[in-house]
Amino acid sequence: MDTLTKIRDFIRNQAKVAAEDDLFTDDVDLLDYGYLDSFGTVALIELIDKECNVDLSNVDFYDAQFRTIAGIAAAVDERAGQKAS
């Protein structure tokens, strides 16, 4: 499973997003629309650490690029790539 799908599925489950919710896209602002809160953020950081072996500190996590699923996935892939090389 790719990173994007992993993160999207996790947030969908965590925030109990309804299947018919068409606002829930890879580019929606997760914080503005309540798909991530303080608990969700902590849980997502743990998931990424465990499943992707990438440590996203809180400082990184609140940057603008981490407010969307696409942004988080890109950042995780980039950090994983840096580790591999």
Binding site: D29, D32, Y33, G34, D37, S38, T41, V59, Y62
Partner: protein, 401 residues
């Protein structure tokens, strides 16, 4: 004699505990320590030594265990406050301070004050002045709310779980003629006090004193779909029980909270917040209200404080104006908050079918008045020019002046 001094005269037990704060937030720990057990009259911290004054003997080990729990709770991951603006006097020692003022009213119980003129007039002036500054900018609709709110509304908003220590419940007598007659007979025989509670049958509690004004705004819009971005303003008397912390100046149990509340798209709520902070900074400079506009977090009492607090700091959800309260300390006189979709989700409020964001700015009017008196004195002739001019213009049209 002040209520705090009266209470301290009843001190019969004193306990010293050695426990290091480590990385914990000292202010939060000291504040929360007042709630460790019933009967704490005073808490002091010097170095690693905590001193508790209590009304009755307690088990020091129990006190220490609970203190350890609180210190662990308020150990955070290093989120730090951001200073947006700061306005300081040349010398804090030159400010008059509150102790020299004779205008602070009468403390009738811990945290409950009766205020007289000119304090009462300054509070009315400040409310009017806030409306004049924020009204034209946001054209809020005015609403009148009760001073109490159903417990169910606060439960939906997660206030009950986040701030259990502040709640002040309201109840009436159990509606049974026998119970009412028994109560009336008891009341006619004696001056009732808390010691008589066991003889009284209260009805189950359904209402709580407002901890904040804005909850009514969301609760009344439950299941609504609002058609456009909306600003609302209201003022209520709010209650927050703070145990022995009420002995600190400015920490009233009941206070007047004027709020302007914003409901709409995330962009609208963010833009109004940005404008609110500009107006606050402008007002502080014009009136020479010494203090600083800083990011803050709510004093969540729950065990998830660290994650909630970090979340608030990192997303800059809360700003406060901490006004100097000379000779020592500072007090928050207003706060500007972004809630994201927290309350719209709790109350199912949408805008054209989409979840909305909410935000608010709230002014603690008595604290604001304390700050003016402490910084500039009770004689308005000696206030900074713009503050003095605004106050005198307002007084000229005040039917009570």
């Amino acid at each position: 004699m002040k209520e705090r001094d009266k209470r301290l005269r009843k001190v019969s037990h004193s306990y010293k505990l050695d426990r290091s704060l480590g990385d914990a937030n000292a202010d939060q720990c000291l504040y929360a320590a007042a709630f460790l057990i019933p009967g704490i009259l005073d808490v002091k911290l010097s170095g690693d030594t905590w001193t508790f004054q209590t009304t009755h003997p307690v088990n020091p080990q129990l006190l220490d265990d609970r203190l350890a729990k609180i210190i662990e709770r308020y150990t955070t991951a290093g989120a730090s406050s951001e200073v947006l603006m700061e306005l300081l006097p040349e010398r804090v020692e030159d400010l008059p301070g509150l102790e020299s003022s004779e205008t602070l009213g009468q403390e009738i119980a811990l945290g409950l004050n009766v205020f007289d003129a000119p304090f009462a007039r300054i509070v009315r002036f400040l409310d009017d002045a806030m409306l004049r500054r924020f009204g034209p900018e946001f054209t809020p609709r005015e609403e009148i709310y009760p001073n109490v709110i159903p417990m169910e509304s606060l439960s939906r908003a997660n206030h009950l779980s986040g701030f259990p220590e502040h709640l002040n419940f309201v109840s009436h007598l159990h509606s049974d003629v026998e119970n009412l007659d028994a109560f009336a007979a008891l009341a006619s025989e004696t001056i009732l006090s808390a010691a008589d509670n066991s003889k009284i049958q209260f009805a189950p509690t359904e209402l709580v004193h407002n901890p904040s004004t804005c909850y009514h705004c969301y609760a009344r819009r439950k299941n609504d779909d609002i058609k456009m971005d909306t600003a609302v303003t209201a003022i209520t008397k709010c209650h927050r029980y703070e145990a022995s912390n009420h002995s600190q100046l400015g920490r009233l149990m009941e206070f007047s909270l004027r709020e302007v509340i914003f409901l709409g798209t995330p962009d609208y709520v963010r833009e109004t917040r940005s404008r609110c902070l500009d107006i606050v900074a402008e007002m502080a400079r014009e009136w020479s209200i010494f203090g600083s506009l800083v990011s803050a977090s709510d004093p969540f009492f729950s065990s998830d404080y660290a994650s909630k607090s970090t979340h608030q700091y990192r997303l800059a959800l809360k700003y406060e104006y901490k006004a100097l309260l000379p000779p020592h300390g500072a007090v928050s006189i207003l706060s500007s908050n972004l809630h994201g979709p927290t309350f719209s989700k709790a109350f199912s409020i949408t805008q054209n079918g989409r979840p909305i964001n909410t935000g608010c700015i709230g002014f603690g009017l008595e604290r604001f008045a304390f700050a003016i008196l402490a910084q500039h004195g009770a004689d308005s002739d000696h206030w900074p020019a713009r503050l003095q001019a605004d106050y005198k213009t307002w007084c000229a049209n005040d039917p009570l002046s």
